[in-house]
Subunit: 285 residues, 2 copies
């Protein structure tokens, strides 16, 4: 049973590029746990509300990987864009097996709503990211209701499904090395099987390639993928995303980047292009 | 007894902003231990030798803090500047007390040559940073002999003393929140007392304020210091640096930055200005 959501409580604050990077904790109604998130408020937010880019991180991450390693605050400060980084799973619970592997349970919530015990009680990261967190952000911070979404790997796919399942909710979407077709790769099969159970039909509501076929809104997808990414062929499968987009007539800019791997050095290199993409959609350019 | 130096052996490689961030290990003659360092080679290094900025990190750090958190590779790739990041102490030894505190022993070498047992055998970070590492870099990588040096906190002071003690060796120097006057602050007293012994006169050869008084080369100092830095008044003492420079006529641009703390978010905010400072001295602008 979920407890009610509580107001965000500040736990850390650092001035950065003239704005402020702040970390908060709050009780989440979606997950029934305490959740931590980070928000970067650019200098412009001191005088007017600014739009928000939501960033969803990948397996093993917290809210801190992106804020420390992507170098995004520099351009966000120039553009006047807030960035909100949620955690990658509920924390503080201790279900059997929850902390035993890097690709399931803690830090691996996959941005779905689990239906299987014991996960269904807390692993509701989709509701948290799509509904609860934006509501909390828009009630408590100097931001507008203009939202974009991006992420990396598990979070890149999370960004795609959040946008595809919610027409009109985001102005733009992009992804770095997303797990494009989780119903057909080991990471996805493990996660969706665990959170959703054995009925593979039920997984399709959480797979970007499936969702693209029937999407009612066709926001252009910007996707960067390193060609030297160790997970490329077995887990990420950008060709499946490409085929799904071609079949459905969904606009996709898939940029294969020679020599780049799965790390934050890859993200840092191209995050500027993604922020520019979102800034245009958010009316900042 | 030191073993001979060995050639660098690649341990990691990531493409980043069109160049390559590489980590190497090698046996150091200075420290008698294996040492790890990182080098960022910008795209320009694929066709011609480039000058090098040496970055010295602070207490608790390794070569990785700067490469992951400062966001320096973006501008280094634009400017055509390599960046070399050594570790902050020898590793792999286990002297009594070596790993007991964050501000002495491992990850706290203070860029001095220790004279006291048991530290004198391995804690020779000054020789390593000033002589051995640049020789190794210039023999093994596509770089020129044009060098600049910068760093943070313990490493900010390290950069100052490396430059002040070696006229002509560096084209430029800068520092973030340096421990400006270690002979007069708790961090410095603990480190210099441990590595150099009780004779405080011997410490003066490793204190930037003392060295400024008699410097034979007066490279302009660029120093950024956050006004909200928790270590400002007790440990960092920029006013001592300012007084030493004023007394000696040493050029100093000390920039007090309102609201900024001691973190890498502070460094990331101003690293661009420092790279521009070094780029001019290195003939890149």
């Amino acid at each position: 049973m979920s407890e009610l959501s509580t107001a965000p409580e500040l736990i850390a604050s650092n001035k950065c590029f003239g704005g402020w990077l702040k970390r908060y904790k709050h009780q989440s109604a979606s997950t029934g746990t305490e959740m931590v998130f980070a928000i970067y408020l650019p200098p412009q937010a001191q005088s007017k509300p600014v739009p928000v880019l939501y960033w969803l991180s990948g397996l093993t991450c917290t809210d801190e990987n992106f804020t420390q390693k992507a170098g995004a605050q520099r351009l966000a400060a120039e553009l006047g864009m807030a960035i909100v980084c949620p955690d990658t799973s509920p924390r503080g619970t201790d279900h059997p097996g929850e902390h035993d592997s890097y690709d399931f349970g803690s830090a691996a919530g996959f941005y779905v709503n689990a239906t299987q015990a014991p996960w269904a009680e807390n692993y509701r990261m989709y509701d948290y990211v799509v509904d609860e967190l934006p509501t909390l952000i828009e009630e408590n911070f100097p931001v507008t209701d203009q939202r974009s979404i991006s992420g990396h790997s598990m979070g890149g796919h999370g960004a795609l499904i959040c946008a595809l399942k919610n027409p009109g909710r985001y102005q733009s979407v992009s992804a770095f090395a997303p797990i494009s077709n989780p119903i057909n790769c080991p990471w996805g099969e493990k996660a969706l099987g665990g959170y959703l159970g054995d009925d593979r039909e039920s997984w399709k509501a959480w797979d970007s390639c499936e969702l693209i076929a029937t999407a009612s809104e066709r926001l252009p997808l910007l996707v960067d993928q390193g060609e030297a990414d160790n997970f490329l062929s077995e887990q990420l499968k950008p060709e499946a995303l490409k085929q799904a987009c071609e079949a459905a007539g969904h606009p996709l800019e898939l940029r294969m980047q020679p020599g780049y791997d799965h790390s934050y050095f890859f993200i840092a290199t191209f995050i500027g292009d993604h922020l520019e993409h979102h800034a245009k959609a958010l009316g900042l350019k």
